[in-house]
Symmetry: C2
Subunit: 233 residues, 2 copies
């Protein structure tokens, strides 16, 4: 066990056999009890290794039948949704948040129904080295975060403040391309009708809505990256 655990060894052995084509989609991998004999270990260790492969989507486990190499019909990747302040700082640029408006939310606000209760609406601009980087419109539920009524949104971006107030447990993201409306284009200092990446995020804490946010990025200044590595634990 020189630095690598037995579980990791079992796992990477099977991964290699799948990657090399020795085991093809639909093939059955050895039964747990066979691997127990092959590696001379307990069933718990084998089971943990296969469970990790199943979580990674590489194999599919079926009771009474065995574990099989998955048919990769859909891909999944881990999408990192960074804190903008951190992201801009990591680019070596200076970050700045400009508040445009903070006021009680009304029924006409976008996704007011998601919050389903009293809320504040915050509008502002994220800037990198002084130039606009993203427009943000956000609703924060006052039931979930009462302190948001008098939040420090003049000085701090709602995202970084909010994350200190309350941890979220569920989120949904929606990513699309849109054309900037005239006022949005002006606020982002980009050509009217230019392509923008729109990221919407709905966040819950234990099932209760916390916040909704829509961020609009100039297409030429922002992109999202996602990685897939089944090796990663």
């Amino acid at each position: 066990m020189n630095g690598v655990t037995l579980e990791q060894r079992i796992r990477s052995d099977i991964e290699r056999r799948i990657g090399s084509g020795e085991l093809r989609p639909g093939d059955r991998i050895p039964f747990e009890h066979e691997l127990v004999v092959a590696y001379g270990c307990s069933r718990a260790t084998v089971s943990k290794a296969i469970e990790a492969l199943a979580k990674a989507g590489l194999v599919e486990r079926r009771r009474r039948a065995g574990s099989f190499v998955a048919h990769p019909h859909h891909q999944s990747a881990v999408l990192a949704v960074p804190d903008l302040e951190r992201l801009i700082a990591e680019r070596g640029e200076s970050y700045c948040w400009t508040l445009v408006a903070a006021r009680p939310a009304t029924a006409t606000d976008p996704e007011f129904a998601h919050i389903n209760g009293p809320a504040v609406r915050i509008d502002g601009v994220h800037r990198a080295d002084g130039s606009p980087f993203a427009l943000e419109t956000r609703l924060i539920s006052l039931s979930a975060v009462p302190a948001a009524e008098a939040g420090p949104f003049e000085k701090r971006s709602p995202g970084s403040w909010l994350i200190e107030q309350i941890p979220w447990t569920e989120a949904r993201h929606d990513i699309r391309a849109v054309m900037a409306l005239p006022d949005e284009a002006q606020a982002l200092a980009m050509p009217k009708g230019g392509a923008c990446l729109e990221v919407q995020r709905w966040t819950w804490q234990s099932g209760a809505p916390v916040t909704y946010v829509r961020q609009l990025f100039p297409g030429d200044r922002y992109h999202l990256s996602a990685e897939f590595k089944p090796n990663a634990l």
Copy 2:
């Protein structure tokens, strides 16, 4: 144990205490041996529950110190990148692939350097109910997939064919918003200069490049969704 395992119960109990604010970022959660006593179970069960919380990023485990509620500095979400054929079928629309060109790749092709060897280039259009849904430009490494030289790309989309040929083990995605070029807009039956979602994907098998693909979607016809649910096993 009415449908829910003990491990899940321990896990959701701790999640709730974090979500409710009873346990705040930086707080120590009970030691494993304390939870063993509290739940009257074995340490393996407790450990598995906490391990799942750690993988979800909700807690951080430190030897000799204990397990602590994590400071949520970055968000991550699982992005599903679906097979287009399947996606369109699930929408209840009919799928169709139109080949535009298939020919040996040359050094001037985009991302030829990624393949780093002989390759074919395939251009085509994905259609839903007859109307253009996405433009695709793809390079396939002939070293990794020799059969691609005479692939059935007249009849089948390269993505669905390729996934049967070779399983990938690593992928990188890049998502951005771009304006459609005149010829792209025409091929997608959309206004010139309209906003498009551009998805690029680089794929490897055990470190060796397999394929590069660029897909261009009309902004009003496609969006990506990502979910984050620490509850999900």
